[in-house]
């Protein structure tokens, strides 16, 4: 078990390092001259003073060879220093840290909604014996993943804020302003969860242990919840990392639609002014969240399914 934990931790760190390296390559290396991009992309588009450009270059270390730059940046990143925002001068970590609580509230609320409705939908679709109803319920998730998230948000605003005047259209104070964004964000995530869960529920219901339970006289509901759902939940657990990543990415669009403060909105404004340090910080943060979510799943999984530690590496990969 300890070896298993250690290997998972090492993998997580390796992926993070690689994600940092990749974002460095894409952002600091690809565009010919990041400094002029920064200076030109800032608030003042007009003129860039050559002397100022030189000092900027020195400050960011662009006069040194790329490998030296990279080692330098990586060394600072390990200590939690991702540089300063070019647009505001604020440290990247505090840009993300300040925005984090709002995004956590939004994604947390959306996750709860997605799990409740996604699971409910999958259970209902696999439980009902009416063919037409089942078809209808099963078509809902495919609909949910096909709708553009921003459009769903705009439609909800139109209906509930402008027509019915029930909920505020934007802002982030209070529960009322959280409802529409959380519902919007929960649609694609819940639909994804429902798809995976319905599929594994159907598989589980075909297993011999379900027949055994039925033969022993267990009722349909009991078989469904106690036997099938328990086993079907395991495959669904493997997509938690994907779900969390989707939620975080979805917050970019949802926060823009509803003008909420948060990481997504900070990202959009950073991309718009080509604020490279902030974009890089957000990319690494996204990878960190994904890696942590997967790490938690990896560590929790053996508690539910002890077989996993024995044949860990190959099996897990085939499941994902």
């Amino acid at each position: 078990m300890r070896r298993y934990v250690f290997r998972r931790l090492a993998q997580a760190v390796a992926v993070l390092w690689a994600a940092y390296t990749l974002s460095f390559l894409v952002l600091d290396f690809l565009p010919g001259d990041p400094v002029s991009a920064m200076a030109g992309g800032g608030l003042d588009q007009a003129s860039v003073d050559p002397a100022q450009l030189e000092s900027l270059k020195r400050e960011y270390g662009f006069d040194k060879p790329v490998l030296v730059q990279y080692a330098d940046y990586l060394g600072r990143a390990v200590q939690g220093d991702f540089g300063n925002s070019v647009a505001t001068g604020q440290p990247v970590t505090s840009v993300i840290g300040d925005a984090l609580p709002q995004t956590l509230v939004l994604t947390g609320a959306a996750l709860v909604l997605a799990v409740v409705f996604g699971t409910g939908l999958a259970l209902a679709a696999t439980y009902t014996s009416a063919r037409a109803l089942r078809q209808l319920l099963l078509s809902l998730p495919s609909l949910g993943v096909s709708l553009p998230t921003f459009w769903v948000g705009l439609m909800l605003v139109q209906l509930f804020s402008f027509r019915l005047r029930l909920l505020p259209a934007f802002g982030n104070d209070g529960i009322a302003s959280l409802i529409l964004p959380a519902v919007t964000l929960a649609v694609p995530t819940g639909a994804l969860l429902a798809q995976v869960l319905a599929k594994s529920l159907f598989t589980a219901l075909d297993e011999p242990y379900v027949q055994t339970a039925r033969a022993k006289g267990a009722g349909r509901a009991r078989v469904h919840l106690r036997h099938a759902l328990r086993n079907a939940a395991l495959p669904a657990l493997t997509i938690v990392g994907l779900l969390v990543g989707n939620l975080l990415a979805g917050s970019v669009v949802v926060e823009t639609v509803f003008s909420r403060n948060g990481i997504g909105r900070a990202t959009v404004s950073a991309v718009t002014v080509q604020d490279i340090p902030v974009v890089q910080g957000v990319v690494v943060f996204g990878a960190l969240v994904f890696v942590c979510a997967n790490l938690v799943v990896d560590l929790v999984y053996p508690l539910f399914d002890p077989r996993i530690v024995v044949a860990s590496a190959t099996r897990r990969r085939s499941l994902v």
Binding site: A18, S146, W151, Q158, Q195, N246, L248, V253, V271, V283
Partner: protein, 309 residues
């Protein structure tokens, strides 16, 4: 029943390689030819699929010959006709400077289809190449490439595209390339799995032992036989790419304002949500219908066609 759920595109889960199913699934086995009778029976039982094919056909037609659908200019506004609701005169209404929204949606199909095709092509070519090299060469090259793929999977796709957009700049083509690169990983995985499956097949061994060069083995034996599932994945990727491209253009990184890109249309309509509901609603419906249709077709290509008897 579970088939319909298995193949859903947005899952982005690598389909299990099942050699028999796959080669049949694509229905392009030249030796067997296309069985018209079977095709007709298949379609007749699935009115939704026929409708989806019709929707996609309309979008493609609109992209290449927009004048078939509308004679109006998508960029020319008639100020006296501002903010007219949908009616016989203007099917989708008019916008804030009196442009016909229907004409803009029709003309926008070209930009959106172009971006989607570029995105899927980039993902297919780059991902396929990575997977092909990894599977065929093996050794440390394979390890290195597949670790790269793991990292690509670890960064949420939208963040990766946003980073690429930051580096490349704004515009439809750049956004499309960014979206394509962000979905390279899935293609690389499937291609590698297929190459590994094919590499040790008897006919490859036979070609090798009869003295064929490595490149001829790769191009004539391995690649054609590994291609099927990757093509299926490409059809699955269409819907995802349309959504990703429209999200990025909604955020404002796509075509510059007067151009009628679908995501941009929805985002400009956002400012008039309270008094002109049609500006965002109807272009959004066009996007949703297109994505639903491509997803439905992809699902048919992925599983149903092969499982039908």
């Amino acid at each position: 029943m579970s088939q319909t759920v298995v193949g859903d595109p947005a899952l982005n889960i690598v389909p299990e390689p099942d050699p028999r199913d796959r080669s049949e699934a694509t229905g392009w086995n030249p030796a067997r030819g296309l069985d018209l009778h079977r095709l007709a029976r298949f379609l007749l039982r699935r009115p939704g699929l026929v409708l989806s094919i019709a929707v996609v056909a309309l979008v493609v037609l609109a992209a290449f010959w927009p004048t078939l659908f509308t004679a109006r200019d998508p960029l020319l506004g008639v100020p006296s006709d501002r903010f007219q609701g949908p009616a016989a005169q203007h099917w989708f209404g008019t916008d804030e400077i009196g442009r016909d929204v229907y004409a803009r949606v029709v003309h926008g199909a070209a930009l959106s289809l172009k971006a989607t095709l570029i995105a899927v092509a980039v993902a297919f070519v780059v991902g396929g190449a990575i997977g092909l090299v990894a599977g065929f060469v093996g050794g440390w090259v394979e390890d290195l490439l597949m670790r790269l793929v793991d990292v690509l999977l670890a960064i949420p796709a939208l963040f990766l595209s946003l980073a690429l957009v930051t580096a490349l700049g704004f515009g439809t083509v750049k956004v499309a390339v960014a979206v394509g690169i962000a979905s390279v990983a899935g293609f690389a995985r499937v291609m590698r799995a297929e190459v590994l499956r094919v590499r040790h097949a008897t006919y490859v061994e036979a070609a090798r032992s009869s003295g064929a060069r490595w490149h001829s083995i790769l191009l004539r034996h391995v690649l054609p036989n590994a291609m099927g599932p990757v093509l299926v994945l490409a059809t699955l990727d269409f819907g995802t790419a349309i959504l990703a491209v429209s999200s990025l253009s909604f955020l404002g990184y796509g075509a510059a304002p007067p151009a009628p890109e679908w995501g941009t249309l929805i985002s400009t309509g956002r400012n008039y949500l309270a008094n002109a509901w049609w500006l965002s609603t109807l272009p959004g419906l066009a996007v949703a219908a297109t994505v639903l249709a491509t997803n439905r077709i992809a699902r048919a290509v992925d599983g149903e066609w092969a499982s039908q008897r």
